[in-house]
């Protein structure tokens, strides 16, 4: 193993957690694995999903809940929930979004001087963004595309504003922080979007160069980060069609394609976005509730009856798709967190919701995480 290039070739075939462990074999390997161009080369390869960050939110109170759980996403075995992933940060945070190994978060409220922090839990590096105070109402998204630029990321802040006192006439405005531009670099974008919707689940899904948020009116707000253009994509299927109220989520899969997942009395459906401007979706996966139950009889019972019972928006869904990435769906079924693989139609029980806290059924923050060794200048 004398040749460094050959070492790098071998190392580039190993998962990140193995590479971190190899650093202590000897000083030479430590040097190769820390080499900047090697780390940059690694950023070009797609990393598998390792799990989901899960953070509860109070339904009514203004306070933030500090605990962030990490739910490993493994079909082949079960690993315990971890709650110390972010202990390397200087303060408690609320997770806002994640992209290609980086995580964007903000200080928990109340705070004397709140910050937005972008960090990487895999190498424990972090940086505070200067120049703006985060607030609870705005939505944030993190855009990081290592194939375009291996260290520069952007954070987009979406705020709602009213044109006048009429609540129906509000619009969304965008501010962009670019790590490249340096300190104090929040820039107000000229782009606005006429939209009264509230941004709910799945904050800031980065797919195809665009940040996406699911709204509460069957639409997806999309923001092209490079070109600063917003667009409202219609969801693939009208929810008014159903008797019982369905539940949806969005996520990225198949190399940058936006996917839309719906669980209704008709079953579990997954669409992939084909044409961005025409809101053209193709159905890529479908399974009736009966089929899901047959395939996973140990885990599901009376599914159709229970899903059909939800006729009021105030009642909690029995089956709630929370986050989706690379063909894996995290969903809550009653009091259990399940991982569903759309390719095999197999479901796996990951944990009980009680392990995640007492407030985890209403609107938690759920963010998929794929690791990377992307460096952050502190």
């Amino acid at each position: 193993m004398q040749n460094d290039d050959i070492c790098m070739d071998v190392f580039s075939r190993l998962p990140i957690e193995t590479l971190l462990g190899l650093k202590r074999v000897c000083k030479r390997w430590h040097g190769i694995l820390s080499d900047r161009s090697f780390v940059q080369g690694l950023l070009q390869r797609p990393e598998p999903l390792v799990g989901f960050f899960f953070q509860e939110r109070y339904q009514w109170a203004g306070e933030d809940i500090r605990t962030i759980s990490f739910i490993p996403a493994r079909m082949e075995d079960t690993q315990p929930i971890k709650q110390t992933i972010f202990s390397f940060l200087p303060e408690d945070v609320v997770v806002l979004g994640s992209c290609n190994g980086l995580v964007c978060c903000r200080s928990v409220f109340p705070s004397p001087s709140p910050y937005i922090i972008v960090c990487n839990p895999s190498n424990k590096q972090w940086t505070r963004l200067q120049g703006t105070r985060p607030d609870k109402e705005s939505s944030y998204g993190l855009a990081f595309n290592p194939s375009q630029s291996d260290t520069n990321f952007k954070v987009v802040r979406v705020s709602q504003a009213r044109t006048d006192m009429d609540d129906d006439d509000s619009y969304l405005s965008f501010e962009i922080y670019s790590s490249q531009a340096g300190a104090g670099a929040w820039k107000k974008s000229k782009e606005v979007c006429q939209c009264n919707d509230n941004l709910v689940k799945n904050k800031g899904v980065f797919a195809g160069g665009k940040l996406q948020w699911l709204t509460d009116r069957d639409r997806i707000l999309s923001f092209d980060v490079e070109n600063e253009l917003s667009w409202l994509i219609s969801s693939p299927f009208p929810t008014s069609h159903f008797t019982a109220i369905p539940e949806m989520c969005i996520g990225e899969s198949s190399g940058g394609r936006l996917h839309y997942i719906m669980i209704s009395e008709d079953g579990l459906h997954v669409w992939a976005l084909e044409d961005y401007y025409d809101s053209n979706w193709s159905l890529v996966h479908t399974a009736t509730l009966e089929a899901l139950e047959e395939e996973n009889s140990q885990l599901l019972r009376n599914t159709r009856e229970r899903v059909s019972q939800r006729v009021s928006i105030d009642s909690l869904p029995w089956m709630d798709p929370l986050a989706f990435k690379d063909g894996l769906l995290l969903m809550r079924v009653s009091t259990k967190m399940m991982l569903y693989c759309i390719e095999t139609k197999k479901m796996k029980e990951l944990c009980n919701v009680s392990e995640l806290g007492r407030n985890c059924i209403f609107g938690p923050l759920v963010i998929p995480y794929s690791p990377s060794l992307a460096p952050l200048m502190t």
Binding site: L14, L20, G21, L22, R24, C26, T84, I85
Partner: protein
């Protein structure tokens, strides 16, 4: 027919179709530098024989198109790399020097599989690597690079 000559003087006659799998040799032939015998100074006869065996097999199998043939080839590849470590590393160096992408891919992947799931102590033993960290240094490296998600 092309004749290759190893570092220890052994000669190997191979078809042109096989010779072009070795990109380094292919370029030499295209540039007109290839005389009656092409020297391969970095590779011994023992290793050159293995490399040629690999290329011959892959050229032959390239002609068959069925899935069954492709699965057979994978099995053949798996057996091909069942050699002692020193030989495996020599084959990697030869594949690198002779620019045979598929063979380099196969052998590097094999070494990667050898590393996966092993502790640093096991890896040092397998690859005969001396630990040049002090216990304190090693502990610091371990702590800094602790995988957060396990």
């Amino acid at each position: 027919m092309i004749t290759l000559r190893s570092s220890d003087g052994e000669t190997f006659d191979i078809d042109e179709a096989v010779a072009v799998e070795l990109q380094t040799i292919k370029h030499m032939m295209e540039d007109g530098c290839a005389g009656s015998q092409i020297p391969v100074p970095n590779v011994t006869g023992k290793i050159l024989a293995k490399v040629i065996e690999y290329c011959k097999k892959h050229v032959e199998s390239g002609k068959a198109e069925e899935q069954a043939a492709s699965d057979d080839l994978k099995g053949w590849d798996a057996d091909f790399v069942k050699v002692d470590q020193a030989t495996l590393f020599d084959i990697i160096l030869a594949a690198n020097y002779l620019d045979i992408k598929a063979l380099l891919d196969l052998t590097c992947q094999t070494v990667a599989e050898m590393i996966k799931g092993k502790t640093p102590e096991e890896i040092r033993r397998i690859f005969c690597i001396k630990n040049d960290f002090t216990p304190e240094e090693e502990e610091e490296v371990r702590r800094e690079n602790q995988w957060a998600f396990e």
